[in-house]
Symmetry: C2
Subunit: 349 residues, 2 copies
């Protein structure tokens, strides 16, 4: 029996509602599978924790997390009490950075029964591979001058290593899927970082026998709306991947179902699994948060741990639940978080 | 009789097809109006020109353009012959920068009869005010190290002056519309430029009695798909405005109809009017390019010149043409560039 040690961080808002539900599903899938178990340790790090301790996690927080096989996180942020940059950079982005989780992998898939805002969603099935450690989110910058002359400078830092790593991952993923990689660029307007990105994409693509394309982010965002079915794997910088994955979530019908994995590749630190959605203070506490984003994220965690059967089992239970119309209000349904979770558990085999 | 001197630059690809058609509409609208006329001078600056002269425009090109009341441009770019950064920065972006066209104004409006890819487009009517001179498109940056250690740095430069200017324009526009301004930010991930942008937005908003909101660009892109009808004026940085305006064009049904104005505010240089779409080499020469983007752009030029009656006349002719199903193939119609133009002219009053 394999035992995986999971660090659980429910975080803020609906994170506290969907994480326990997702764990019920994961544990049931593990039990039915019979060859592995999850040993979960919950950490209360959140804005509540911040209000009490003046920080988002203890000073040795990363040390504590380091020994786990994976981190399962809900959502971080409660802007009414703690400024976003404090909560996010104190917990979520800190873990992404310090644990060198260089890739953020985000599928967007049309599932039967979903209410896509698109008239004709035509079965799209794509994965965004987002560079997760640098680019437009670098912490390098500052301000100069005062008053009306004030200027802020933000450096976008693109390294060949990190870009290549994201691209190799994208190509290897495409080899297992539909053999097509699209690069998100903007080299016609952004003249240092993006032509560099394009050059690297060209040289990495030469190592694979895979169809490629490259679109500027403006056009690519539009194609996600007008013909999402054309894409397979899309590789993008930190910011572009962020934007594309919210568009991917929107065309699926709700950000409430979009899953994500922050992947560390070198075996030194755990990877972190957290859905695309945030803490949604507006609906927190009402019992209506969609648990599917978190559950699908759990499915990605099992895939990452090598438990493909249990992962596939969860995915088909999610698909059946949606196809049978058991949906929370964000998907135009009337089911509660609990009801959707119970349905998914009932469909596990 | 007012005479406006217009510099016409058809540019590349379909620019050569839609610009002459748009001029026919503008001239007819002027004639029907009876109080002004357009005196047009055409400049052949384009990738063809580049192939012959090794530059996109003559050395004194800007000098020649400076004396006009407005510039009416089609599209620039022919990547099969001239790299985009050469053609765009040698002509389009050069004019935007050198003539201090600090705002790029781009409406997106649901017109009756349009085939939006959205299931339920619900009459959205919004305008994107894009900062057009700096931000993520700064020409500051470079590379360091070689081989696998190579790094590219791109500086995003945000000045209080340019940001304020875009925001004041947005608020003043909203006062004439639905009194609501949304700011596109990403201050949770981009920690120098975007918090600066947010601060400026807050201080400018205090000068107006207008409802405001601020969304991160990822969420905002999704809202453009799930509830575009909620927006009025959206103010955004150079890159975010670029992305949002392509999404705006996509939800309208085709980038072929999306108009734009590059506005210079200080009376020192002409403003430039060019649609959102590019030169579209794939459909150039087939007589099927949608002329509406260029014609609607011409409407914006007349508005800018103070000819509101003629501008309104053109807009309602465009709306009638679309409502009557006279549409080019990009809008799922079968009419030619010429037929759409003739229909619009026939509806002018
Ligand atoms: C061609 C390109 C540089 C340009 C831009 O990004 O500004 C275009 O996409 C636009 O929106 O006008
Ligand atoms: C909260 C924010 C910093 C984060 C990001 O942009 O990375 C979020 O939008 C995401 O996509 O995970």
């Amino acid at each position: 029996m394999n035992t995986y040690k999971i660090a659980v961080i429910p975080g803020d808002g609906i994170g506290n509602e969907v994480v326990p539900k997702a764990l019920e599903v994961l544990k049931q899938a593990a039990e039915l599978n019979g060859t592995f178990q999850l040993e979960c340790t919950t950490f209360p790090w959140s804005c509540d924790y911040y209000m009490e301790h003046g920080k988002m996690m203890p000073d040795d927080g990363l040390e504590q997390l380091k020994k786990f096989d994976a981190i399962f996180l809900g959502a971080v942020g409660d802007p009414a009490r703690v400024p976003d940059h404090v909560s996010l950079w104190g917990l979520l982005l800190k873990i992404r950075r310090q644990f060198k989780q260089q890739l953020n992998v985000r599928p967007a898939k049309y599932l039967k029964g979903l209410e896509s805002p698109l008239k004709n969603p035509k079965g799209f099935d794509l994965v965004i591979v987002r560079e997760n450690s640098e680019g437009e989110y670098s912490e390098v910058g500052g301000r100069i001058y005062q008053g009306e002359d004030e200027i802020a400078i933000q450096n976008n830092v693109f390294s060949r290593k990190a870009s290549e790593r994201a691209m190799h991952y994208a190509f290897q993923l495409a080899e297992k899927r539909k053999n097509y990689v699209t690069s998100a660029t903007k080299s016609n307007g952004i003249v240092y970082s993006m032509p560099f990105w394009d050059e690297i994409f060209k040289s990495v693509s030469e190592k694979y026998n895979i169809k490629t394309d490259s679109f500027h982010i403006d056009a690519l965002s539009a194609y996600f709306i007008t013909k999402p079915e054309m894409f397979d794997v899309v590789v993008a910088s930190n910011l572009f991947g962020d934007i594309l994955s919210d568009i991917g979530a929107a065309i699926m019908g709700s950000i409430g179902i979009a899953p994500a994995a922050n992947i560390h590749l070198d075996g030194e630190y755990p990877s972190m699994f957290e859905p695309v959605h945030g803490s949604a203070p507006d609906i927190a506490g009402k019992g209506i948060a969609n648990p599917i984003g978190q559950i699908w994220t759990g499915k990605m965690m099992l895939d990452h741990l090598g438990e493909k059967n249990a992962a596939d089992n969860i995915m088909s239970a999610i698909e059946q639940t949606i196809a049978n119309g058991i949906k929370t209000p964000d998907l135009s349904g009337s089911a509660s978080t609990k009801e959707v979770t119970e349905a998914i558990i009932s469909y596990l085999k």
